[in-house]
Every structure is written in structure tokens, then in C-alpha cells.
Subunit: 332 residues, 2 copies
């Protein structure tokens, strides 16, 4: 499953910033993959990309029409179907990150079949996987892990890939979530895989490679999260990381989506993740700590990162404020 | 999804003991749920239950026809379809533990629809789950965990339930695998759930209950197994066990399905499982150790269990040889 660029990002009638996280991710990290965005009249948010309708996007070379917003329930509103049909009639493939499947809409399915176009439901992987084996693969792998969900694992992974490319590393970002997949053009939505195959799918995601090649595997969930730790663990075992980067967000009072559950400390997170990672890579090390410091001042951020760095004898940065060079410098 | 008893166990043309593990499990643990077994002419194995064809089973009251064998690939051989059709024509529901779905066989699907009968594909849960929350539920829960896959977690769980019932506990076995589901009549095939919902499905499996009630949750996989640890962890977090029973098989040289991977020690397994379980139940304890000693003599088994018991200051038994009373005696 390779998503063909460039994309037209369809925002539908989205009204809040969070609901277009997927569109903003790709607009921020891969603007060159997008011809623009297509907003309906009552849409109140924007990625900042040029606005264009389907015909204009087609003229600009767009190959794929992307439903790049989330809504509660993940259904495809019948009001959007005419736009999907129009995109198919302009010979565009369709990608959706929603829960309801494109292939379950009869007129969309039959038109796509007729015109030989792809319908890619990112949340419903069609690839079949084997169960994991844990056998050592060649090449180097880094996995981002977190003290919680949504602490910046994707952002940190992409920052690492960008910095490493600039420094001349042979490196690939390996996407394990919807937004990352759109950015990378491929990957596996690991939390949508059947439980038996989490580790196996993760092995497929970062295959055997040349000795000096680095895969930067986008982490999911957190080993300490009561809902998603199974996903995090299977992804980790399959990734068999040589290096971990611990991601953390300052001043969060409870784990995401759970009432009254304090976050683990960074020390606990390091210990827990190293112990789990050793199952498939006894030589795993922590390469650094990436902190989302957006809740504090520039000055405080600097101080906090310096303290953490000293406490763990590891580079600690906010990639947005400080760049991620210090962590890359610690990879060998 | 409640499977209606009694069952007719269909063994098809199975030729080895391992392939009818599911049938033997239910025949051993719940013979009262079975009218008998139905073997085709070239079938070379038996559960020991009375042989009968579909008409005879119907006359004996059978309500469900169970494809209770495994084959490589998990496909439904077209040669078996006439028997499924015959069972439907005798007003039996159909259960299958194979990978290929009953509902994907058009003539089976349409006949079942027409006659208002259930087609239950145990490996394809149709229930929709929420993501886990980790909130404390009332009642007590015990989870069986292992040093490896297939070390006797289901057997141990069922032994515990049986002994506890005899001692007057209010107790239920909660099945998380195909064979267990057939024995219990319901449950969730946890390794077949979409990864995001492992913990949530596990929470559903052992719901809120009265204060003195025990759920004995059948474990899956092993936290140290490179393929299945994600399943084990999600199941554990959702089960929020008060008590763990560690299951182990003597003299295994490599983890199941993996070359050259030594098993973890019992000490490592205890440490790893307690650390993981504390995420959703800080008060979790190990209640005992259950060892499959079938590879050694009666005398050696006694000695080894005594040694392990002394080392960990915990009851240690082979439930087949010694009963499981010693572990039940350690539950409070």
C-alpha cells in the first residue's frame, strides 16, 4: 500500500483544530506532497495550504483525495459522498482515516472498481501478517516511546529523521499511525491490526536492511497506559529497537482519556521500556529524552531540560524549541 | 454470544491428536455439554465421546454443530460443507474455530439466515468493544500467566474453577481462547480482537461483580514471548487481577514456535508479571505456581514442586498430579 502523491486534503466541514490533526501533520511535514486543501463552505479551520476544488487540484497534478479529518464516531457523512465521487471521476485514488470503510459505500466501491482506482482505508489494514518471531534483523532501529499517549512521539520521530538526513545518515521514518502513514506514504496502522499479529506487523514495518541504515519507528500508546500498553509492547517487540527516545509532555495531570491517573515518572518509563525492549534486543539503550515544553516559558524549558539531562546523563531537548541534534549526536 | 449446548463435536477427517485439541478440551472438561462426536470415515482420532451422526445427535437433543478441529491454514474444506448444511437442516446452530468464516460460504450463510440459526466464528469476534479505562471494578479476579505459550494456563484456570466451586466459592471461568470459549459457552477470543481494544475487551470479559465473587481469567501467550506479549499485556491490564498463578512446563528447551529462545526463569516471570499487573492493580499478588510435570517421573515431580515452593515461598503443584487445593488455599 503506497499512497500516491500529491494529495488534495479534503477537510469537509471540520470546525475544530484537533479534528484536522491528520491534515495538519502532512501539511507541516510534507507540504511538497500536497497540492492544497479543499474546505466546504462551513469549514472553520485551515492547514494554511492553498484552497482548491477538485478540478483545480487535478489540474495541479493531485493523484489522491484524502479525507483527512476526524469526527466523532468515524462515520462517512452522506453529504461527503458526492465529493468522493467527483474525485473518482477526476481519476483520483481515495484515502480515508475514518472508521467507516470507503469500500462499504456501494456507489464509491463500484465507481472505483470501474475506473481502476484505489480505496485505502488506513484504519483497516488489508495486508496479511505473520506472527512475530523476534529473530535479529540487520540494520539499526530507533523507537520513540512515551510517558503517555499523545506526548509527541510522531513529531519527535519526524524531527529525528529530518535531522539525521541532514547529517547524512541513511534513514527512514516508519509510520505506525494514520497521520504518519499519510506523511510517509506508507506504513501500518498498528493499533488496527488483529492482536495476534501486532509484533509480526511491526517486524514487517522495519524489515531487514543494510548495516548502517536506521529505521525511526513511530511509537504508539505507552507501556503504562491501561488501554493501549498491549499495542505499545507488541510494536516494541517487533521493532527490536537498538535505541529508544523517551517522549514526555510537561504538566499533564492525568493520563490521556483516563480520570485521576498520574503519569509515570521518566525514571519509571525508562526502566519499564528497557526491560520490555530487552526481550527482542538485549543491547537496547536510551538515546535521549524529548520533552514537549509548550506549557512553560522558553527560560523554564531550558532549565527543566538541563535538569532532566543531568539526572539521567542523557541529552534532553524540546525538538520544537531546541532542535534534536543533541539526541542524534548520541546515536552510534 | 452464548453458545447453545449440547454440542455435536464434528472432527471431520482429523488424523492427529493436536488437531482436535478443542474437541478434547470440551470433552474432558464439559462432557455434559456434548451429545457425542461425529467422525468421518478417514478420521483417525477420537475424544472418547459416543460416535453419532447428525440425525442421531439431533434426536439426543444437540443444539449446536461444532467444527472442533484445526487444520493448517484454517480453511473450511468444501468436503465439509454438506455436513454443515445437513446440521442446519436439522436446526442446529454452527460454531467454528477455523480462520475462514462460515458467513463467507454463501450457501451456508443463506440457509442459516432462512432458518434463523446462528453462525458463530469464534476467531472473528463480532462484538464491538470500547478502549480500556483501567477503573477499579468490584469483585476479585485471578489471571493465569505463563513462562511461555501453551504451558497449561487453560487447564490450570479450569482446575481452579472446579476446586473453588467444590469449596463453595462464588466463581466463574472467563474464557479468552477458542477452546475455553467452547467450554464456558461464551468468552472473547482475545488474540482475534483489534489491537486497540485488547484491554477494553478484557474489561468486558470480567465485568463488575459482587464483592466476594471470583473471576478466573484464562491467560494467553506470555509477557516474554516475542510474538504474543502484546496480547498478554492487554489482557492483563483489562483483567486487573488481584491474584496471578504462574504456569510453567518443565524441560522445554525453546519458547513455542521460536528457534533458540530459552524460556525465562520463574523468578523473572514473577517479577515481569507483577510489574505489569500493578499498572491496573497495585495490590496484585502471586497466589501460586502451576507446573506441567508430565516430562518427569511422579517422584521427581514431587521433589521439583517442593523445591520451587520453598524457593518462592508459594504453593507449587502440578494440578494433574497433585490437585490445585494448595493454591486455592492461598486465595483470600
Amino acid at each position: 500500500m503506497k499512497i500516491q502523491a500529491p494529495y488534495l486534503l479534503f477537510l469537509g466541514d471540520a470546525t475544530d483544530e484537533l479534528s484536522i490533526k491528520m491534515a495538519k501533520g502532512v501539511a507541516d511535514w510534507r507540504p511538497e506532497l500536497c497540492t492544497g486543501e479543499y474546505r466546504l463552505d462551513n469549514c472553520q479551520v485551515t492547514t494554511g495550504l492553498p484552497a482548491m476544488d477538485i478540478a483545480a487540484a487535478k489540474a495541479a497534478g493531485a493523484k489522491t483525495f484524502v479525507l483527512s479529518f476526524a469526527n466523532s464516531g468515524g462515520t462517512i457523512d452522506p453529504a461527503w459522498v458526492p465529493y468522493i465521487i467527483e474525485a473518482l471521476n477526476h481519476d483520483m485514488h481515495i484515502v480515508s482515516g475514518l472508521h467507516q470503510k470507503l469500500i462499504d459505500i456501494p456507489e464509491v466501491f463500484s465507481l472505483a472498481q470501474e475506473r481502476g482506482l484505489d480505496l485505502i482505508d488506513i484504519r483497516h489494514p488489508t495486508q496479511s501478517f505473520k506472527t512475530g518471531k523476534g529473530y535479529k534483523r540487520q540494520g539499526k532501529r530507533l523507537l520513540t516511546v512515551g510517558t503517555d499517549c499523545s506526548v509527541g512521539k510522531m513529531y519527535t520521530s519526524l524531527s529525528l529523521e529530518k535531522e539525521m538526513k541532514q547529517q547524512g545518515f541513511d534513514v527512514d521514518f516508519r509510520a505506525s499511525g494514520q497521520c504518519g502513514i499519510l506523511i510517509a506514504g506508507d506504513g501500518v496502522a498498528i493499533d488496527c491490526v488483529v492482536a495476534d499479529f501486532i509484533a509480526g506487523a511491526s517486524e514487517t514495518l522495519s524489515p531487514d536492511n543494510t548495516e548502517d541504515h536506521w529505521d525511526i519507528v513511530e511509537g504508539q500508546g505507552a507501556l503504562s497506559h491501561p488501554a493501549f500498553a498491549g499495542v505499545s509492547l507488541g510494536l516494541m517487540h517487533g521493532a527490536q529497537p537498538d535505541a529508544l527516545v523517551i517522549c514526555h509532555a510537561l504538566n499533564r495531570t492525568s493520563m490521556r482519556g483516563i480520570d485521576n491517573r498520574p503519569l509515570p515518572t521518566i525514571a519509571q518509563t525508562i526502566e519499564q521500556n528497557l526491560a520490555a525492549a530487552r526481550i527482542t534486543n538485549p543491547d537496547v539503550k536510551v538515546a535521549g529524552i524529548s520533552v514537549n515544553t509548550s506549557s512553560v516559558s522558553e527560560e523554564e524549558a531550558k532549565e527543566i531540560c538541563a535538569q532532566i539531562s543531568q539526572e539521567f546523563n542523557l541529552p534532553c531537548v524540546d525538538p520544537v524549541r531546541h532542535g534534536i541534534g543533541a539526541i542524534v549526536g548520541n546515536l552510534s
